[in-house]
Amino acid sequence: MKMFRFFGLAFVLVAGLLAIAGCNSEESSGGSDGGSDAPSEITYASTSDAAGLSPIDTNDSVSSNVTYQVYETLFVQNPETLEPEPLLAKSYETPDENTWVIKLKEGITFHDGTPFNAEAVKHTFDQLKDPERAAPRASLLDPVSSIEVKDEYTVVLNTEEPYGPMLAALSHTNAAIVSPKADKEGNINKKPVGTGPFVFEEWVQGDHITLKRNEDYWRDPAEIETVTFKVVPETSTAISMLETGEVQFIDKIPSDYIGRVESLSGVEVQKSEGTRVSYLGFNMEKEPFNELKFRQAVAHGINQEAYVSQLNGLGVHNESFIGPKVFGYNEEAKSAGYEYDPEKAKQMIKENGYKGQELTLFVANRDNYMKMAEIVESQLTEIGLNVSIETMEWASFLDTARQGDYEMTFLGWANSTADGSELLYPNLHADNIGSSNYVRYDNSEFNKLVEQSRSSVDQEVRKEKLHEANMLAIKDAPWVVMQHGMVSLAYDKSIEGLTVDPTGMWSLYPVTRK
């Protein structure tokens, strides 16, 4: 009898816990399962949750995926020509090299009813630059010294030095314009208010974010009524959900999974060249990598094709640092690197006086870096180097790499402005040694060319300077480019009009469902 009492007690205990669990989670249950057969809804599987929903306060692609639908920028990069085109701006002029006069479109309002005008632009950019706010992408507008409201729909940006990539910076998702009223009164990092085609509805942190169509959008309202960003950390689970219709689209498909996705019958896959570059970087302050000859030897020993061929079509072999989808690319740079020639590599290593000391490949255990490391390790062993791999988790890796405490490493650069200056300046200019210039490259001639590419406002001159700087760096070999990335999307066949631009961004505004 007592036995039954024990089981009874246990049952009541468990049932009680379950009841609590049930009651509480009921509140957070709404709207997440997307309704796969309702054609005006769309659910996207995101590998992680957004960090925040304010463009000023975030700097990660997951957050940008959401903010890109809610907010808009003054300019937007044309994915074909890579030239910035006006979006919230109507036109612009540069009366002199340090002055940008931007005319704004009229009659646009934010989701909270606040009018979009020069004041809103000034507020947003002042906040982005305010050291108190500590915006992660404050550097986008670093060269801007002041922002003036000339009249209701004209804003003037003044710079100390001419700033070439201004329009690319203004096209960046983190330079999107926020409602000044919402930003002053509330927390736009949790409740975003922009001018975009979708209005924020709900955010259950860690689970999903829901957006609704903006019925008062300044262009024609979007076709899609409800958008859900569902957090699904496992790629394999996300693909299963795509297959069963629990989600309608996924992006950034890892190369190991692309085969499975392509085999699904009701699913369309899009792959196109992106702006991301991945490279093997040498620590220029450490021996023997401070020797050009040694770097050249290593470069001759690496067969990028062997790596790219394992990516199932999700990578391109191109030796240029500035990729083909980035402003400043010139076809001449494509094969300007050191071609694969293991014999020559062996010879050069011998001439360099290498005595067999151990060289370490410092690798983060994420993305495709481990795969790269294994292939490169075996290729370098073949040319007679004694190479070992040291792996580390991402946060520790970044910290260690930033301090320059490594010999060779793998890194990548997504280049969200698709502008060559935004690649060469942060990654290879001496100004950024100790931060984003991980390889600690310092070449005064290169520095000067990059500065010129940033300070000229003539886009043709910029292109030329970028090309020169690119060619110089390729020959100097602080990096060996491993691949230029592809951007990818996989979506239900009922979806039409979904495209991904080279930076990996997609807008749901033009999307419809059959």
């Binding site: 669990a21 992408r137 946060a395 984003s436």
Partner: protein, 312 residues
């Protein structure tokens, strides 16, 4: 009993104080800087410094720790560096999901484990016993990750009778129950195997004891002998296993939550560790420790209920 609870309560406070110190220091001295994660690889040194200052990370570590402790005493566990959400809110919204998952997988584990264990013990060395011990071994050995993925492929993708992931609907609805099935089996399998093995060996020991022989001699029939007289005593070590197991599950079931896209405490913690989100890591570790101690206390109380010889 009241003495036990009071004693444990003070032990818990001391334990939490110690843990808070250890976790705080280990997070701050471990490599990896939250500002680098927030700023991303393209942030400049000035950006990073501004972020550190904004989060108060530029102050001496001890000052930060005492500031943190002071906050806790007022019920303020700080705010997430990543999302700005209050840590208590982040945990409170996710804990019910974890409780739901832990409870349902414990039920699965107990039902399968105890029944299999008893049958195994009763039919020792028979084919049933061999089959059940083999399955128990397999259950302990199969990685959760693989089992979860396989269950999804079979029941969600191919048969399409259960959803792939999520745990959002209330458990008493059909949708809620359906969502619970695959993750509970995934999580419950390993524990079921453990419980089965424990029940079996404990039963075998008990049925050989003197009092069972006496009961047999007095003519107690076989069924009540096993299910009432023997099982109750055999359950004491099993209850410990179930309790510890339940406590562990409440601490978050990271892999299962990842695989089934469940928004629980485990995922909150692992994401926070990866992002060096100190306040969230500290908050979740403290919660897990507290829950573990409380569950153990409950196990001790249950002991006394099962075995009248035990009193506190």
């Amino acid at each position: 009993m009241i003495g036990l609870i009071t004693r444990r309560f003070f032990q818990l406070l001391l334990l939490l104080l110690g843990i808070s110190f250890l976790v705080f220091m280990s997070m701050h001295f471990a490599p990896g800087d939250p500002a680098t994660i927030i700023g991303g690889p393209n942030a400049t040194s000035e950006d990073l410094e501004a972020i550190r200052k904004d989060m108060g990370l530029d102050r001496p570590v001890l000052v930060q720790y005492f500031d943190y402790l002071g906050g806790i005493l007022q019920g303020d566990f700080g705010y997430s560096y990543q999302t700005g959400q209050a840590v208590t809110e982040a945990i409170i919204t996710r804990f019910p999901t974890t409780v739901k998952l832990a409870a349902s997988s414990t039920i699965v584990a107990v039902i399968i484990g105890v029944i299999a264990g008893i049958i195994s013990a009763r039919k020792q060395n028979s084919w049933i016993d061999v089959t059940s011990t083999t399955f128990a071994l397999a259950g302990v050995s199969i990685p959760n990750f693989w089992l979860g993925a396989m269950l999804i492929l079979v029941f969600a993708v191919n048969l399409q009778i259960l959803p792939v992931g999520g745990l959002n609907a209330p458990f008493y609805t059909l949708a809620g129950l359906k969502e619970l099935i695959l993750p509970s089996i995934t999580l419950g399998t390993a524990s079921a195997a453990l419980i089965a093995r424990m029940t079996r060996s404990s039963m075998l020991e008990v049925v050989r004891s003197d009092y069972i022989r006496t009961a047999k001699a007095k003519g107690v029939r076989k069924r009540p002998l096993i299910w009432i007289h023997a099982l109750k005593n055999a359950m004491i070590p099993v209850v410990t296993v179930i309790g510890i197991n339940f406590g562990t599950l409440l601490g978050g079931t990271i892999i299962t939550e990842q695989v089934f896209a469940i928004n629980g405490v485990g995922r909150l913690m692992i994401d926070a560790i990866a992002a060096r989100d100190f306040p969230v890591v500290q908050g979740t570790v403290l919660l897990v420790a507290a829950v573990f101690v409380v569950v153990n206390l409950i196990v001790d109380i249950v002991y006394a209920l099962i075995d009248p010889r035990i009193s506190y």
